[in-house]
Amino acid sequence: MSDHLIEFKEIAASNQWGAILPEIALGVLALTLLVLEIFLPKNRHVLIPRVAIIGQLVVLVWFLAFFRAGGGYIGQETFGGMLFHDGVGQVMRVFFLVSSLLVCHLATISLAGKQVPKVEFFHIALVVTAALMLLAQSNHFVLFFISLETVTVGFFVLVCYLRYQAIALEAGLKYLVLAALSSAVMLFGIALLYGIAGNPLLEGSSSDSMNFGALNAFLKNHPESNIAIIGMILVIAGVAFKIAAFPFQIWVPDVYQGASTPVTAFLAVASKAAGFAVLLTLVLKVFQPMETILVPLLSLLAILTILYGNIAALTQRNTKRLMGLSGIAHAGYLLVGVIASLYVPWAMGAVVFYLVTYLLGSFAVFGVMAHLSPEDGTGDELEDYLDLAKNRPFLGGVLVVGLGSLAGIPPLAGFIGKLLIFIAAFQAGLYWLLAVSVFGVVLSIYYYFGWIKAAVFQYWQVSPEEAARSREWPEISSISRLILGTLAAATVVLGFFQGPLSDWLGRL
């Protein structure tokens, strides 16, 4: 057999389809939804979102029961080095499945009664989730780029899903232009890295130079190469767009405000978490030899991000923009964790733990928001939350727990998440970053409590004519009660007892 054939045989043998069964399952489910739309009679179409949610629940339960160890592929490269399965990847898979489930549930609330096709929303959400899961495990720039773009193009459609609203289209257009700009910048970085690491005249070059391992081996030999440094900066800039770090955060407030609530939640949680999963991989496994440039760069990003996010959020009265701006601040704290993970290995677990607490807190808040703003673009102001706790004590309670956790009030989960990151930063000797982060947390308490105050302590000043047209409060279905209650309860419990989750993360 010729050499080429042998090589081909080896690559074919590394196509372990069993390793990506969860992603395949999601893809099949997504296509099933479209088929059901064709074959089910019109009056049965309400069943399709339920099929999507139940299908994802089945995948999630199956994953947790039988696939938690990555189906036995942990520590292996599959598909010719395209994918690498590690512990973080498995946690992120569960993370994305859970967030997609919650997004689908929010979508059933917020799309109800709107004149838009419903099935496609769930289809795209599932495809995006599958791509996110692959992204978190990618080990090669080609797969990295393809899955990143699948996510991004999916989000273009989701952001302007309510296309009869001009503000949704405007948000979608802004997201599209800036996302395409950032992916072009990142691609140029990838091209430079590919070119320099594949240069046959340089020592340590590789014929497969877009593979993360091969690139890392090359950078170990040439950490001072100018082209490689420019390439690294451009790639980090592309990822910084995803996590909305300063100065790539300009899209956040507008897009969050224009998109419908479930999509905002999806962007805020899953897209940001994917950015961090990718950043962890890139920083720890690829660019680690260039620490001397990487650490000051990321530190500067982190400081500016924390300050910008918190200061811009201080005067914000629109809740969606507030979530976006405070989300920028959270990205800053997470960046501190990523930097710390270069020095303290367990900081990686702290970053993932923070992401989990951020998921629980954010979805609790977004869940309440989805109930309160039936028409998107209305009901988003802080004034709309007056009297919430008096009229809907359940929603008020969930909101307080969610916001308290995001603000980092002990004993809620968000406090433990911040504490772990700060301890890691202290152990890594990042005192300046620590000081800025603590300052940021203090600022954040101001605006989070402004929101809590509006919902709980402030009362609507009733004038007689306004009392006559008192606003309607939404009804909460029992399934929503169950889900929001679980999120709030998990936030409280995780604050006291980290047990199995920290065991799982400790083994990363």
């Binding site: 720039f141 773009e149 948000a171 590919y194 240069n199 014929s207």
Partner: protein, 101 residues
Amino acid sequence: MNIGIHEFLATSALLFTFGFVGVLVRRNVLVVYMCLELMLNAVTLALVGFSRFNGTMDGNVFVFFIITVAAAEVAVGLAIVVELFRRRGTVMLPALNHLKH
């Protein structure tokens, strides 16, 4: 004249800069799209140049993926622009400021 990797890279960097500046300063959405495409094509040129110089096919193959993704992006993007034009009657960026600041 012998065309080597430096000429490829210089052209690519120049195109990329044109595209980047264009995205930042132009006001018409369609022109902004064209500038984005220019940036992607600059990357494509760099990849092809490196691929030839390094003697590996990875860069050439990657180019096909980039073209595919760019097509998907523009398909969605133009749909948004058409829909937006129907609602607002304009495709100029300064007019798209209805989301409050």
